[in-house]
């Protein structure tokens, strides 16, 4: 029952973090973000497959959850 979280380059740079994490499925994205020690406000976009999801999305087994920061605006 695992899933993976991938951070965009923008978020990796912002956090000075590695980019790939394996997590337990069944939690919300928000819970997963917090468990990784990331401030949820810094995550601008949650993407699963091709679709944007909210931070309340429940992570399913095998999901690859991609997290993006916005560091620069327009």
């Amino acid at each position: 029952m695992t899933a993976s979280i991938r951070l965009s380059d923008s978020l990796k740079n912002l956090l000075g973090s590695e980019g790939l994490f394996t997590i337990e499925a069944g939690h919300s994205v928000r819970e997963a973000i917090v468990s990784l020690g990331i401030n949820p406000d810094l995550v601008a976009v949650v993407s699963v497959g091709d679709e944007m999801q909210s931070k309340d999305y429940l992570i399913q087994e095998g999901d690859t959850v991609r997290l993006l920061a916005v560091i620069g605006g327009g």
Binding site: S8, N39, L68, V70, G72, G73
Partner: protein, 607 residues
């Protein structure tokens, strides 16, 4: 001169004559191009006190060394002028394909001078340059003008045109290109309209000399590879700038009902996800772009097509007006683009009018019978037309919120959301002190693209007022606009987070001059100070008071949403300015000191 098309074209509209002069090597060395060229020529050639809409003002269109080159984002040009909206500096960046074609026609800059006695368009095909009669185009909207030129001349011609907004010299008229790209802010379209220039139509087939072709190819490919490999590219292409609507709503940065709050209860209807599902039909990029942020949309409700909307328009024409339907936003976007007015200033001006109406300051007697409640779709569409055509109530709103609120009084100045007369773009800054400072000190007025710092606010503490935040804002102001100087788009760095050092060998290979980012930031610092000196020269009493934000952000805390009850104290606003001026080397009134001017080597430029 490597990296330059080699010529600057001056068009004297009063006499109908042209002059081509070599691009000055010393100006290229010191100011590189783009907005660097723009402020150099503006300061040097537009006399103090010139009427922005008079013959002494100039409209300066400049490319940079990477414009039109095979470098990601090399499709940007800068439009500099004395702004009719603010009376200060305007430097509007425009994407698309215009700048590449301009360079292929052998031109680094085009400078429009004087005023034509009749409507004309400027036709350029390599060395063939003509002013042609535009009487038959005057009065037409931008899409029709562009369509006519493309049908008549061919797809290879690139067109920049004004609509009725520019012809009528609306203070925030824009210039439209490629059916959906704009030189948007400050009223550059009004200046073009004042000169009776309906359009610039150009095509070229020349080459741009490159210092080291092999190194250029290698550096260009390295940049493209970095974009292609970037984690986040897929999402960026899918949603473009609309990625942030949801997030801004969550963190209280989404302008809502004239910036009275930063979160909107109907935001889901204007989210990027909603837009992609409901109206987007394809992606659209500018010249040489590997990560197209433009979205081409179709509204079934209005049976219309439009490029966009992008985030700023969603914020200002959506939540800021109480609109929760992305199709309405898309239609408002289309009307503004077609009529040639800036969506940001227009959305802000209508939002201000709606708040006045809600407070009973305006009644239907004032608004030409329009029921200006927030969320009234038909009233918004009608007002866009009235603003662009300068009809009835639209005349007042077309002046921008600073002048309009001064005329109306009754405390409406307190919720006129602008800095230095430019309406604030789509980030609510009730409690985001770095972003607030970025708006306060931006060189054109309350615009976001010079320094964007909301994520930094959230990272370090949004209400903190510390020197490090100020330093961050200044660094961004010196660094980010350099993309507008070199003629490129910042979004590959901004959103894909590619290594900015990859641009250094590319710029060196093209121009033959090595410039580190430290060198480039010094140029950025010089340009920033020059724009400040222009403001001071053109406005008696210019100084600290001009940098203050709208009172809403220090007096009027939101009563709903993520920033409910949150505000930035006025004393913190002033502390931010104190620290900013000190770090910039400016005096306590916000003017560069003699020492700073000397340190930057600007004595001759600002004399």
């Amino acid at each position: 001169m490597n990296g330059y098309a080699g010529k600057i074209l001056r068009v004297n509209l009063t006499t109908g004559t042209f002059t081509k002069e070599p691009t000055p090597a010393d100006v290229a060395r010191d100011f590189i191009g783009g907005r660097g060229f723009g402020i150099y020529f503006l300061l040097k050639e537009v006399p103090k006190g010139a009427d922005p809409l008079g013959p002494e003002n100039k409209l300066i269109i400049s490319s940079g060394p990477i414009s039109g080159m095979m470098i990601p984002g090399g499709g940007k040009c800068d439009w500099t002028t004395k702004a009719p909206l603010t009376g200060g500096y305007a430097g509007a960046s425009m994407g698309g394909h215009f700048t590449a074609e301009m360079r292929y026609a052998g031109l680094d800059s085009i400078i429009l001078e004087g005023i034509s006695p009749k409507p004309v368009y400027l036709f350029i095909d390599n060395d063939r340059i003509e002013l042609r009669d535009a009487s038959g185009l005057w009065g037409k909207a931008t899409f029709e003008v562009e369509k006519q030129f493309k049908e008549k001349l061919g797809e290879e011609y690139q067109i920049a045109t004004i609509g009725p907004g520019g012809e009528n010299m609306v203070s925030y008229a824009c210039i439209n290109h490629d059916y959906g790209r704009q030189a948007g802010r400050g009223g550059v379209g009004a200046v073009m309209g004042s000169k009776k220039v309906k359009a610039i139509v150009l095509h070229g087939t020349k080459s741009i000399p490159v210092a080291d072709m092999q190194a250029y190819r290698k550096a260009g490919m390295a940049l493209y590879k970095a974009c292609k490999d970037a984690e986040g590219l897929k999402e960026w292409i899918r949603y473009g700038t609309t990625t942030v609507v949801d997030w801004c709503n969550q963190v209280g940065a989404l302008p809502t009902r004239n910036f009275s709050a930063g979160s909107f209860e109907g935001a889901e209807g204007i989210y990027g996800k909603t837009m992609r599902e409901k109206i987007v039909i394809t992606d659209k990029g500018c010249f040489g772009c590997p990560s197209p942020c433009g979205k081409y949309s179709r509204s079934k409700k209005y049976n219309s097509y439009v490029e966009g909307p992008e985030y700023e328009t969603i914020g200002l024409m959506g939540s800021n007006l109480g609109i929760d339907d992305i199709e309405v936003v898309a239609q408002a976007n289309l009307l503004c683009d077609d009529l040639g007015i800036d969506t940001i200033s227009a959305g802000n001006s209508i939002g201000w009018a709606m708040e006045c109406y809600q407070k009973g300051i305006f009644t239907k007697k004032d608004t030409d019978g329009l029921d200006l409640k927030f969320g009234n779709v038909e009233a918004i569409f009608t007002l866009i037309g009235k603003i662009a055509r300068k009809e009835g109530f639209g005349v007042l709103l077309g002046e921008g919120v600073k002048r309009a609120s001064k005329k109306i009084g009754q405390g409406t100045e307190k919720f006129a959301i602008h800095v230095k007369g430019m309406e604030q773009s789509a980030y609510a800054t009730h409690n985001a002190t770095a972003m607030l400072l970025a708006y306060m000190t931006c060189d054109v007025g309350a615009h976001h693209n010079r320094s964007w710092a909301i994520t930094y606010d959230l990272q370090v503490g949004r209400d903190l007022v510390v020197p490090e935040k100020v330093a961050r804002v200044i660094w961004l102001q010196n660094f980010r606009p350099m993309f507008d100087v070199i003629g490129g788009c910042r979004l590959q760095w901004v959103e894909l987070s590619i290594d900015r050092d990859l641009y250094v060998p590319a710029l060196e290979a093209i121009t033959g001059i090595h410039r580190s980012w430290e060198d480039l930031e010094k140029v950025g610092d010089r340009i920033w100070n020059m724009t400040r000196m222009f403001w001071a020269r053109e406005n008696d009493g210019f100084g600290r008071e001009w940098d203050l934000p709208p009172a809403r952000f220090y007096e009027d805390a939101p009563t709903t949403g993520a920033t409910k009850g949150q505000i930035t104290k006025l004393e913190d606003v002033n502390r931010l300015l104190d620290m900013y001026y000190e770090q910039r080397g400016w005096d306590s009134n916000g003017l560069p000191t003699l020492e700073t001017i000397e340190n930057l080597g600007l004595e001759a430029v600002v004399a």
